[in-house]
Amino acid sequence: MNSIVFHVEELTKIYQMGEVQVNALRGIDLKLYKGEFTVLLGASGSGKSTLLNILGGLDTPTHGHVMYGNNNLSEATEHQLTEYRRYHVGFVFQFYNLIPSLTARENVAVVTEIARSPMLPEQALKLVELQERIDHFPAQLSGGEQQRVAIARAIAKNPDVLLCDEPTGALDSKTGVVVLEALQHINEQLGTTTVVITHNASIASMADRVIYLADGQIKEIRTNTAKLSAHELSW
């Protein structure tokens, strides 16, 4: 078995949304391993995004521990979390979150410029097969292309973990497959620990492990004996 990257214990998260209190996570225990491709599956409001945000150092838990290697993320300072995100984590968002005023290359550069040993933006874009559209602005790219820029942006810093929040959520099936292929390619080629959130059950077949979440709790963890490759998927 590979070494443990994340060790999560009794994780709870309560947050305030307007005048409503939301119990997003209610006691999560979980281990994630190096190089593993994990899919978090669950309905809307099951707590997937909250878990991912906490793993990515975007948010802090209300109770419980999150260990990244030997670092306790749940007790990290704002500054330490920033450093953690800057040097270790790559993010891919459902709605891409590209900066509209920057071209594809510049959107990647915005990350490589602050990273420790990044690839060239061109190189990262080549990995997602977007070398042709490198100087296009987000508004000139299709949804799938935008998401691939987002992936290039996430991997360009050579992150230790790649966290993807519904990367295909806004895409049609065909484009979604292209994006998933890119993710799988990176996971295999660079050995990056990858966590993908989805509510699309068919994506689960390409994962090493599938974690089912409901109502802020883990319902089931399943290990795939036979992994499918991304192009074999359809929905």
Binding site: N53, L58, H79, E83, Y84, V111
Partner: protein, 787 residues
């Protein structure tokens, strides 16, 4: 360039109109700051330089006649450095081809020299030739007004005798930077001039050979001016001294000092308004920009950008906008400062103007703008920096709206749904609505200060020359004369009425306070001089006691019923205690009024007068001047109406300049505030408005919701702005008040209307610009993206 900086530049370009509108407001603040301060520095520097180079005296004294040898004893007064004795005479002039009465001061000048003290600055021609006794030098402004050059001729009534004079050159003098006839309100270069003549012929004409009637002196280092003045007064008393004055009380210097004080007021208050408005605008725009970029901020943070880096990113954006404003403001401020300095140079008789732009002024303008901008946006930028990344990923919680006050009062049936949207939107952000309203009010208020100055001058002139002084001509005698002299004046053809007055220089004393002025003895029920109360109703002088100019009473802290001590500075130098009966409204000077007969009694003299006010049939006005000129006893003739006209002509340019600047400044605030508010409202309500369009609302109906709110705030701001303008003008009027003149707080309907008009026009222009964006609302795109 770093990618994040490219983002900055492109976003700035996208919001260029908004950035420009803010930069304009900052530029306005910076430019008025630099204009006022550089003008102030230039005037100070030029005056200092001029005074120093031309040995402007520290103490001045007039007397009747003293032997030239007295100069030695003056020099012996401890603290005195240099002394110059002179002959000074008030004369009537006769300029060929100009029929109005012209008066002037004639000063003696040592042979072939510009004078030891108050040295003249030769502009054209040459100094006086000692071999000729009929040469004069003219003040540059006077020569210009009459187009007189070296070699031209004019006549002067010197001590009752008409003499032909030849112009040898034109000059400026530090003593007459502000050239104003005694008792006049404004400089009038056509009807009042200063002339210099050789000592010998002038002294001869006035029977002052080997004598003098005026002295100027400078003080040594560390000398106490008051000590010197006291000793000088003591020394000159037997020679008819009327009291020495310090440089600070010298008329020309006083006017200039007051002008500088006014500049200082302008330099403090206006930049304050502009920087306040700029800070508010930056806050609004930055807050909106940051809320639009929540997801981008989240993404940047997710990639590991620190709070500091995110904060710095937006700070840079703000500094870029501010820098643009500062650069434009400096350029414009220098331009206006130079224009203003040149106006002053022309308005005053300054031979040159050294435009001074101190680096610290520029530095201060930049530093203040940056600081204010930073303070204004601190909150917004801090919020952006602190935005927790996970929270930034979630859409903003929906804005909370509530029933408005009007609806709670049960008035909702009177409002359509769109109108309710407007009201709720305004009520939801009360602070922002209030600040927007305040910003527009300030624009309106700033506008009013331009019109105020013009209106104030009109009112001053109207009250002073139509209600108080109702005469057409004032004739001043060389010496007090019997009241019977009025008969000869009344007998002149065209003179409808003549009223004598007695005037004498005095020093007033109440408790520990002193004031130098002159006392006027007037006819209690005369028709040419009315004293007015604060409501501008006529008041009558009682049998005994005095009435003071209201401002003088304030200066002395004296009130009706108190006893005023009057020390007369001529003749027998009588000191008397008289009761104060009341105060009179006057915008000009500080006067003490008494019944003429009572003043004659107080001075222990018979029925004498110092001059007369005349009411003249306008048909015969010219003839009356001609006759008066031939009368040896008449030292000077002042004709008010043409002087006022001439003043308006000289003021026209200045007033136009002020109106132009205040309109520009007010307009830039109005546009800056209104345009930005509309753009932000559009950006905030983009989805809402697009949804309404999808539901079948027309462009106009959607525009109503957006622009209606702004229109409502603007209309609400107008009365508030008029109030603010009134306050601003009151503040200025209060700071402009001096014992030389008071600026009345009179704001005509025109002033209010013009200010309102500019604000409304600015709104309409903003609305037209935003209308374009409104017609381009992308209904599909707006609804497709999530929020």
């Amino acid at each position: 360039m770093l990618a994040i900086d490219k983002k900055l530049v492109r976003e700035l370009w996208d919001m260029r109109m908004q950035a420009l509108a803010i930069a304009m407001v900052i530029a306005s603040g910076v430019s008025i700051f630099i204009m006022s301060l550089s003008t102030l520095d230039s005037l100070y520097e030029t005056r200092e330089h001029y005074y120093k180079n031309n040995n402007f005296a520290h103490v001045f004294a007039s007397l009747k006649r003293a032997p030239a040898t007295l100069i030695k004893r003056i020099q012996e007064i401890p603290g005195v450095n240099k002394v110059e004795t002179r002959v000074l005479a008030y004369v009537n002039l006769d300029i060929p081809g100009f029929e109005d009465p012209v008066s002037g001061h004639l000063l003696s000048l040592p042979e072939n020299s510009p004078g030891l003290l108050n040295s003249i600055f030769l502009q054209k021609g040459r100094l006086l030739n000692p071999a000729r006794d009929n040469e004069v030098l003219l003040s540059e402004e006077f020569a210009k007004a009459h187009d007189l050059r070296a070699g031209d001729k004019l006549r002067a009534i010197i001590n009752g005798r008409s003499r032909a004079l030849i112009v040898s050159g034109t000059v400026s003098s530090p003593e007459y930077i502000y050239q104003i006839a005694p008792g006049a309100m404004f400089p009038d270069y056509k009807r009042y001039g200063v002339l210099w003549m050789s000592q010998k012929p002038l002294a001869g004409a006035y029977d002052l050979e080997g004598a003098f009637n005026n002295v100027a002196l400078t003080l040594g280092k560390g000398a106490n001016s008051q000590d010197v003045i006291d000793r000088l007064d003591e020394l000159l008393k037997p020679y008819g001294g009327t009291g020495a004055i310090d440089r600070a009380d010298q008329l020309s210097n006083r006017f200039l000092s007051e002008e500088l004080k006014q500049q200082q007021t302008i330099a403090t208050i206006f930049p304050l308004i502009f920087f306040g408005v700029a800070a508010f605008l930056l806050n609004v725009v930055t807050s909106r920009l940051i809320s639009l970029q929540r997801e981008q901020i989240a993404a940047l943070k997710a990639f590991g950008y620190s709070n500091f880096a995110v904060g710095l990113h937006y700070t840079k954006l703000i500094l870029l906008i501010v820098s643009l404003g500062v650069v434009v403001g400096i350029g414009f401020g220098v331009w206006m400062g130079k224009g203003m300095s040149n106006l002053y140079m022309e308005f005053y008789s300054l031979p040159y103007m050294m435009y001074v732009l101190k680096p610290q002024v520029i530095f201060a303008a930049a530093a203040i703008s940056m600081t204010v901008a930073m303070l204004g946006t601190l909150h917004a930028v801090n919020n952006a920096a602190k935005l927790p990344p996970a929270q930034a990923m979630r859409p903003e919680a929906p804005a909370i709206y509530r029933m408005t006050l009007l609806e709670k009062l049960g008035l909702q049936q009177y409002f359509s749904q769109p109108s309710r949207m407007i009201l709720r939107h305004i009520e939801r952000r009360p602070l922002k609505s209030f600040l927007t309203t305040l910003g527009i009010s300030m624009a309106c208020g700033t506008m009013m200060t331009g019109g105020f100055q013009e209106g104030a001058i009109n009112h001053m002139v109207d009250v002073q020359y139509n209600m108080i002084d109702r005469s057409d001509i004032t004739a001043i005698y060389t010496e007090p004369a019997s009241r019977r002299s009025l008969y000869s004046l009344r007998s002149l053809q065209g003179v409808e009425h003549a009223e004598g007055f007695r005037t004498a220089p005095v020093r007033l004393k109440f408790e520990h306070r002193f004031h130098r002025t002159s006392i006027k003895g007037i006819e209690p029920s005369g028709s040419l001089m009315h004293l007015l109360d604060s409501e501008l109703n006529r008041i009558y002088l009682p049998e005994n006691g005095v009435i003071l100019t209201d401002y003088l009473a304030e200066l002395l802290h004296i009130k009706p019923g108190d006893m005023l001590i009057i020390e007369v500075l001529e003749g027998n130098r009588i000191t008397a205690r008289v009761p104060v009966i009341g105060t009179a409204k006057e915008f000009l000077g500080t006067n003490v009024y008494m019944r003429r007969e009572a003043l004659n009694r107080l001075l222990k003299e018979s029925d004498v007068i110092s001059g007369a006010w005349l009411k003249v049939d306008s048909m015969h006005q010219k003839d009356v001047y001609k006759e008066l000129k031939t009368m040896p006893r008449i030292a000077g003739v002042i004709e008010q109406r043409s002087a006022i006209k001439a003043f308006y002509k000289t003021m026209e340019e200045t007033i136009l300049f002020f109106t132009f600047i205040s309109t520009l400044l007010g307009g830039s605030i109005a546009f800056g505030v209104i345009y930005n508010s509309m753009r932000i409202a559009l950006s905030e309500r983009n989805r809402e408005l697009a949804s309404l369009r999808v539901l079948g609302f027309k462009h106009g109906e959607v525009a109503y919701i957006l622009l209606g709110e702004q229109a409502f705030l603007t209309l609400f701001a107008l009365p508030l702005g008029m109030l603010a303008g009134y306050g601003l003008c009151a503040y200025m009027a209060f700071h402009f008040d001096t014992d030389l003149y008071r600026v009345p707080l009179i704001l005509g309907v025109k002033v209010y209307a013009f200010a309102a008009l500019v604000v409304i026009v600015s709104s309409v222009i903003s609305a037209l610009l935003v209308w374009r964006n409104l017609t381009q609302l992308d209904m599909i795109a707006v609804l497709k993206t999530k929020e």
